[in-house]
């Protein structure tokens, strides 16, 4: 299996080299070259390891909508992801650089999904989605800026992220589903640093594991005069990952959209609290 994995990485031409912790590879964007993104884990062709196809996601705001605010330090408003992916690796169709034992768990989860008996995860139990998964949403995200704070109000499952610009991470840290987030500006880029995450969530929808040692760095930069918000995510986890990795996403400015009431708990009657199987 490990041979297969390495071979498929080589075929995809997507192997990432990192010399040391803290040195982060440049993020890939769309799959490079003519080769289509893998549709099975490790590009194996194994149907039991089929990956859930991504979604096109949000398009630009309709004509006539108010234009984005060109102020690079004003991120306020409703943003909606374009190009939603179920697996959050360094490139489309490529898994996070999980250590072998955690890659085996991802394979188990993908096989369970493809059998129609997916393993329970945070989202099916109406728990917050964890990081960085909560940012990969096919639902809009509203950003609110107040003195010393940036708040992300997610439509999906009414997730809330409070990001503090005026303090360091507290010590000791309380572990939570979405962690403790602090931020600062580096030029026109907002750098958000998140630690204090519990290990009850996954990195992504497919089920890549992270530990409570996970460290997520997000870099938000407005581009195209405020019509697009670029996000570069770097994930570090000395327990589950071989090395840190990064990926890039974009959100569309959508002033025409108002986040709606999303009540996960309304449909939670049959979800298990413990155990694994959620649906037939």
């Amino acid at each position: 299996m490990r041979t297969l994995k390495r071979a498929s990485f080589a075929i995809a031409g997507l192997a990432v080299t990192v010399a040391a912790w803290g040195q982060v590879p440049p993020p890939a964007s769309a799959p490079s070259g003519a080769a289509p993104a893998p549709t099975t884990l490790h590009n194996s062709g194994d149907p039991t390891l089929a990956l859930t196809p991504g979604l096109r996601g949000a398009t630009a705001a309709p004509k006539g909508a108010p234009p984005g605010n060109p102020d690079p330090h004003n991120l306020e408003g409703v943003w909606w992801m374009s190009g939603y992916q179920y697996m959050l690796g360094p490139d489309v169709g490529v898994p996070p650089p999980l250590k072998p034992e955690y890659m085996a768990i991802l394979e188990r989860r993908i096989r369970a999904k493809n059998r129609g008996t997916p393993e329970a995860d945070a989202s099916t139990q109406c728990l917050p989605h964890g990081m960085p998964r909560v940012m990969e949403s096919p639902y809009p995200i509203e950003i609110v800026q107040t003195p010393g704070r940036i708040t992300f109000l997610h439509e999906v499952a009414h997730n809330v992220r409070r990001i503090y610009l005026d303090r360091p991470h507290p010590a000791p840290l309380t572990q939570t589903f979405l962690g403790d987030s602090i931020a600062h500006w580096e030029g026109d880029t907002l750098v958000v640093d998140t630690v204090g995450l519990n290990d009850k969530t996954f990195i992504d929808d497919e089920g890549s594991s992270h530990s409570d040692q996970e460290h997520v760095i997000e870099r938000y930069t407005k581009v195209d005069n405020g019509s697009t918000l670029q996000l570069i995510v770097t994930v570090e986890d000395p327990v589950t990952l071989e090395h840190p990795y990064s990926y890039r996403r974009v959100f569309r400015w959508r002033p025409d959209v108002r986040p709606q009431e999303y009540v996960c708990e309304e449909n939670n009657r049959n979800a298990p609290v413990e155990g694994v199987t959620v649906a037939k």
Partner: protein
């Protein structure tokens, strides 16, 4: 969603113009911060210390709720299975909430299961809104008083922690006033629901600013059923 979005879309430009003209914004009180209600509210009282006058049908429902509660059975209360509590109850629970005051939207972000609430400033209340647990809210400043009008409520929620019911006709008006020292917030609210009450009635609540308090991540689904706040 799309019908509502389309209906609301036209007001964007009018709102933007109104705000551009409104240099008076600077004089408004700043409600941004974390707040906690003073005291514990069980059954709501009207401002003159009475009880809201229920219609016969609503009285029957309320008494069923009280009988069940007397036996420790709160299954009539969606909050016990993590559903949003509705309004004004959410504002009357002993749980901190954070106000984020912006020019176009006032956000209430509650500690209780991280529930968000938005009141859109200087817009008319839509006349045909799909029912939601927390309704649909618009706001305006009446001098230094923030006035929020809400409608479009799902009738499965309760008005208070004791089990006071309401119908989908519920129309709620909230008036928030900040004290001169900025440390206290007073709420006067009016409930208008002819199917539930024989006449509109008003209640009140007071909140204290929680300086330095950071709202923690409170997750109902991760909280054992007997530990979930319901008042």
């Amino acid at each position: 969603m799309s019908a509502l979005v389309k209906a609301l879309y036209g007001v964007f430009s009018a709102t933007a113009l109104a705000l551009a003209a409104g240099a008076a914004q600077a004089a408004l009180p700043d409600l941004t911060g974390v707040w906690l209600i003073e005291g514990h509210v069980g059954a709501v009282k009207t401002v003159d210390g009475g009880t809201p006058a229920l219609t016969a049908a609503a009285k029957k429902v309320y008494e069923e709720h009280r009988r069940a509660a007397a036996h420790g059975d709160y299954s009539f209360d969606g909050v016990t299975h993590c559903l949003p509590p509705g309004l004004p109850r959410l504002m009357l629970m002993h749980e901190p909430f954070e106000i984020l005051q912006r020019d176009k939207i006032i956000y209430f972000v509650h500690q209780l299961n991280r529930l968000p609430r938005r009141a859109y400033l200087n817009e008319a209340l839509p006349t045909d809104v799909d029912p939601h647990y927390l309704g649909y809210s618009v706001a305006h400043w009446d001098g230094s008083t923030l006035v929020i009008e809400s409608a479009g409520f799902d009738d499965s929620t309760l008005l208070d922690n004791a089990g006071l019911p309401h119908s989908e006709d519920l129309h709620l008006t909230e008036r928030y006033q900040l004290s001169a020292d900025g440390k206290h917030l007073h709420l006067n609210y009016t409930v208008d629901d002819a199917k539930t009450f024989t006449k509109p009635w008003s209640g009140q609540a007071d909140y204290t600013r929680q300086v330095g308090y950071e709202v923690p991540e409170e997750v109902c689904a991760a909280t054992p059923a007997d530990k979930r706040p319901r008042s």
